[in-house]
Each structure stands twice: as structure tokens, then as C-alpha cells.
Symmetry: C2
Subunit: 351 residues, 2 copies
Amino acid sequence: MKSSRITLKDLAKDLNLSPSTISRALGNHPAISDFTKKRVQNRAEELGFRLNSIASSFRKKKTDSIGIIVPRIDIHFHSLVISGIEEYAYNNGYHVTIFQSKDLLKREKEIAKILQTKMVDGIIICLSIETKNCDHFKKFDKLGVPMVFYDRVPTDFEANKIVINDFESAYTATEHLINAGCKRIGHIAGNQTTDIFKARLEGYKAALKKHKLPIDSSLILPTNNLNYEEGVKCAQKYMELPELPDGIFCANDYTAVSIIQVFRKAEIKIPRQVAIVGFSNYPISKIIEPNLTTINDRAFQMGEASAKLLIRQIEEKNDFIESETITLKTELIIRESSAKVPVTKKVVSQK
Amino acid sequence: MKSSRITLKDLAKDLNLSPSTISRALGNHPAISDFTKKRVQNRAEELGFRLNSIASSFRKKKTDSIGIIVPRIDIHFHSLVISGIEEYAYNNGYHVTIFQSKDLLKREKEIAKILQTKMVDGIIICLSIETKNCDHFKKFDKLGVPMVFYDRVPTDFEANKIVINDFESAYTATEHLINAGCKRIGHIAGNQTTDIFKARLEGYKAALKKHKLPIDSSLILPTNNLNYEEGVKCAQKYMELPELPDGIFCANDYTAVSIIQVFRKAEIKIPRQVAIVGFSNYPISKIIEPNLTTINDRAFQMGEASAKLLIRQIEEKNDFIESETITLKTELIIRESSAKVPVTKKVVSQK
DNA sequence: CTGAAAGCGCTTACAG
DNA sequence: CTGAAAGCGCTTACAG
């Protein structure tokens, strides 16, 4: 059934040339005459010859493939990152193979083992939420396979990282609320075992301190996953307080949206009574009413930057660089949900 | 820098066994004694030996890899499908390599050529919006590489397809509006060069006919991409009519959401004055107020089914089957946006 | 139950 | 500018 493919040798026989010459002609080797190249390339096209890139990879010890490990593909943030990776990789002759850890350490370890056999040229990873140490990735260092981590990155070992400045972003978001006139600012915090959410909480606190506002722990509500349902619960907790906050910085957009909806049902005016700022610039932030002020976390660019750094490391093999960390500039997108006084639409870039 | 990997031959020498035996022991071949297997496997683990699966694929002419071509990874529907594919593939020993056509025929053709060299065992494809014929995929048939198409599938040649019944789903959605008491039902139609959107329009018309309601072409609004902005324009067009429709079946959720928002701003009551039904069960359909009645299009299951069918075809090589088409059951999820008379939450499965 | 040998389809250092 | 030859790291049909 599987009709046998034409090999490079077949093509060589057909053209009365050696396999060496065919290989070089197809690879556009400078030593081959233009006449021969044209002849070979035309005939290859005619016969529908396709190089067996597995054989080629095997011989060259280079697969032109990048392994990606993400918690889940269907989380919008990760799908944007993957899209950015694929785009950059494609334009540079690489292809991407994707694995989902499902946020399980066990599965992440399994995938790491599989990737060691797949001979990928490099790996891009967002750690699972369960991952506390990166021993299972150390083998890649030994094998000389470069790795780049994004978003949830390791703290226990030197590694290439693409991150945003969560502290600064949170600081900027909180300061924006302060500038809008808020005095009692709450924070819906992400899981405090994860560094990025710790940093967002710290940024929030720092902004309050800077502006001499008290840090009121009753206004800081912890969550596990920052999902919509947890947001609803947080909104209810705020409503049970003797006094509502007048601004809330949420560690992501889902909780921000749920707060808006619960408050609106309770006839609490947004932004007049409570101004809201989210984090991530999810599509819903442009649709929810009022539109949500939020932080653009550069998901697509994070993917591009990850792929770019990884491919550079694959191709340069610069022995003097131990690791690189690239911090992307975020952007505060100001929309209606924080406009205590009506503002014209504007954007504040984090410096 | 790249420390040389341990090969199977090294392991053989270390254990004083032949490479044949090592290969069989690692592959759990029945002819090898349990004692030898244990010895080999333990020593492999000790030395951190990892089989070079490129060499193995090359030799076996089997890569255990599936190529995926989607328009874009960051469209939620596709990210769910990919997630379903990855999940099923992973559990069955395959990995997935993803390419984005960006809805460009030119790029889709490029990717098809690349995949011919990559020696993938099979391919899953959602056609680009520009694709009118599938000549660029015919080569895979010749090479004996199975293909499965989902969602946007070819009509010009026999192929394995995973689809939903768009006609029936649209019929069910429209009939639901009729049962809710609507008499003047509009439809926001998708690009009519795409079969699935043609089918949704036909299903809508068929339901009206069945219930002896007139088909009023002024209520059928065409769009190109069914995006939010087009939805806004459609809403405005409806408002310019001498009389509003009392129900609208939208070919996707984005346009449904935009209609809801524009109408609400104009103080048009939903669902009392106009009932709305969407299509796809996007996350936003649960968040928008009122919650959106919609069709669950089984994106994740579509991915699972695609992978399952593909892997079956890869492994069975049944020469008697020309092609298979699997139609997934959709589900009408009834929420507030269509509740002319208040209903308790329920779900109607398409039979 | 184990081994020797051939070979998968390329690429590349070497030679001319 | 082109070719002969070796070999990448496995697997498997064949032999014992």
C-alpha cells in the first residue's frame, strides 16, 4: 500500500550523477555548478522527490525541531505564546512539537524523558504549577540541549528565561488606581506558591507604601487559581466588609470580570464606586462592560522572544554565556473600568 | 560542548551483550529472558541511556508523530481541538507537531511540502479559508500517509472527516427560538464560501419552513469573519429596520455577544424583546449577561476523535476502507438569552 | 534465548 | 566542480 518513496539515490541514478552531488545540489552547496543545480532541482520537482528529513536529521544530528511543554494548550495565554513560538520558528526553518503537562509534575517529568529521546534541538517550557525543582530538566544541560523558560520559570537553577516584570506591572497598575483617586485599594492575589503572583502582590504593596496608603490585609484576598468562581467569592467577601474598597487590582482578568459582574448586579457602580484593574488583556477585557483596564502581558511576544532566544542559543553555541533572562515591557491599557473621572483612551508603557 | 550521548552499542559493550539483545530488551521483546531485560533496563537507567528515537524512526520508517495544520493556534476553537488531539495522541504514544496556515493557501501548500519531508505518520488538517481544492494534499494519499480533516473539510475529494452536523445544529437552534415564541427570526450568517456556514444558513431556513414562518431576506445578514465588529454592524442594521426581529440565531458566539451588547445599550430587552442564540459555546457565553444560549460544538471531542481515527488508520492500514466521516453530536445549551419565558437550565442534545 | 550482519537514506571529509 | 566511501544509531530477518 505505502508506495515506496523516491530516494536521493534513485534521483542520482536517474540523472547519472552521484548521490553526493544530488545532496549538495539540493542543499544549494556553493561548489556545485548552477547548471547542475538547476538540472537536479528540476528533475526532483518532476519526480516529486522529497528529501527524507528523518534520514537527514539522523545523519546531521540536527532535527530542526523545538519541543514545547505547556500546562495546557487551551489556556488563551499559552495558545498565544505557542502561536508566537510557531510563527518565529516557522520563519526560521524550525518546527514545534507540543506537549501538555496538565500542570502535573509527574507528567512533566515523563515528557522530559520523552524529549530526551526525540533529539529536539531545544526546548521551551512553562513549568507546571506543581513543579518545585527542575532536576528533571538538568539532563538537557548535560546533553547540550538549550532550554528557555517563560512565565513560570525555575528559581532553583540558572536558566534562560523570558518574563515580564510582574512587580513593576503590579506597581504601575496599583499606582494608576491611586492616581485615579482611590484610597482603599484591594488586591485579588494569585497562588502565593507561584513567584509571579507573589511579585504582583509585592508590587501592589510597594505602590501603596510609596503613596503612604495603609496596607489593609482585609482587602487582600487570596485565591488558588484565579478563576471566575473564586472571583465571585472574593466579590462577595468585599461586599461583607463594613466598607467597600474604592479600587481593586486583580491578579488576572477573570477575577476582575467576575468582580465587575457581581458588583453590577448589586448595583455597585464601576468605576465610580469601585475602580477595577485586571491583568493579562484577555479578549474579554475589551468586551466586558465597562471595558476592563488591564496589563498587556505580551503573550505573543513572549512566544516570539522565547523562540528567538532558543534558536540563537541552538545556532551560536556561545560557550561564554551561562544563561540569559529577557524581561519584556508590559503596558497598562486604560479603559473604562478605572475611569473615576472620565478619561480619553490612553496607554501607559512600563519603562 | 555537546557531551556525546551514550549509544545502544556503548550499553552493549558495557554489559557484554550484543546490540541486538539490548535493542530487544529495551523494546520488551518476548524472546528475551526476564533476567536479561532487568539487567539491561537497570543499567540503562544507571547510565542515563536514552534511545535515539530519530535513529529508531529512521530505521523503522515510523516516527510516531502526527502533523497538525490549523489556521491559527490562538483561536479558542482550534486550541481546544489541538488540546484534544495532543491528549489522545500522548496517551497512545504519539506526539504532535503543529503548523499554522494563518488562513493562507500559499502557506498551507508550503506546510504540506514540509510535512512530506518530515515523515509524519499521519496528518490532521483544518483547511485555510482560502483553500478551494486539495490538490496539495493528494500526495499524502500516494505516500500512504493517512489524513483526517476537521471542521473545514474538503468537498472535492474523498477524505476522512470529523464534523458536526451544522445543518441540524442550526435547525435545532432556530427551532428553539420558534418554540420560545419567536416569529421574526434573523440570522447572522458566516462566510458563504465556507460549507459549514452555508449549512448553518440552510438549517435556519429549513426550521423556518418547517414551522411555516416566512423567510425574510432583510433579516439574514451576511458577514465575512463573524467577528465582534461585524456583529456590531449587524446589530445596527437590525435597529434600522422598520421592525426589529424578535429572535436572532447567530452563526457564532462573538457576533451574538456583540448583538447583546449593542441592543442592551439601546435599551432593547434581551431576551424579552429579542431572543439570541449563538454557536460554539465559547467561554464568554457563560459570562456575558444575559448568559448566551448556544451550541456546544464539541471542539475538544473533535480533536480526540480526529486523533483516534487517524491513529487507527495509521495502525490498521485497512485497505478496504476508502474513507470515513464521523459526525459528532452537538448540544443546545439553553441559557438566559433565549428565555422569553423564564426556563430552568436545561440541555437538549441533538439526536 | 542471543548474536552477527545488513541496511535504513542521507551527508561530508577526503580525494581528485 | 564531482565522486567514492564511510558512517550516523538503531532494528530485524536470519541463523544457531
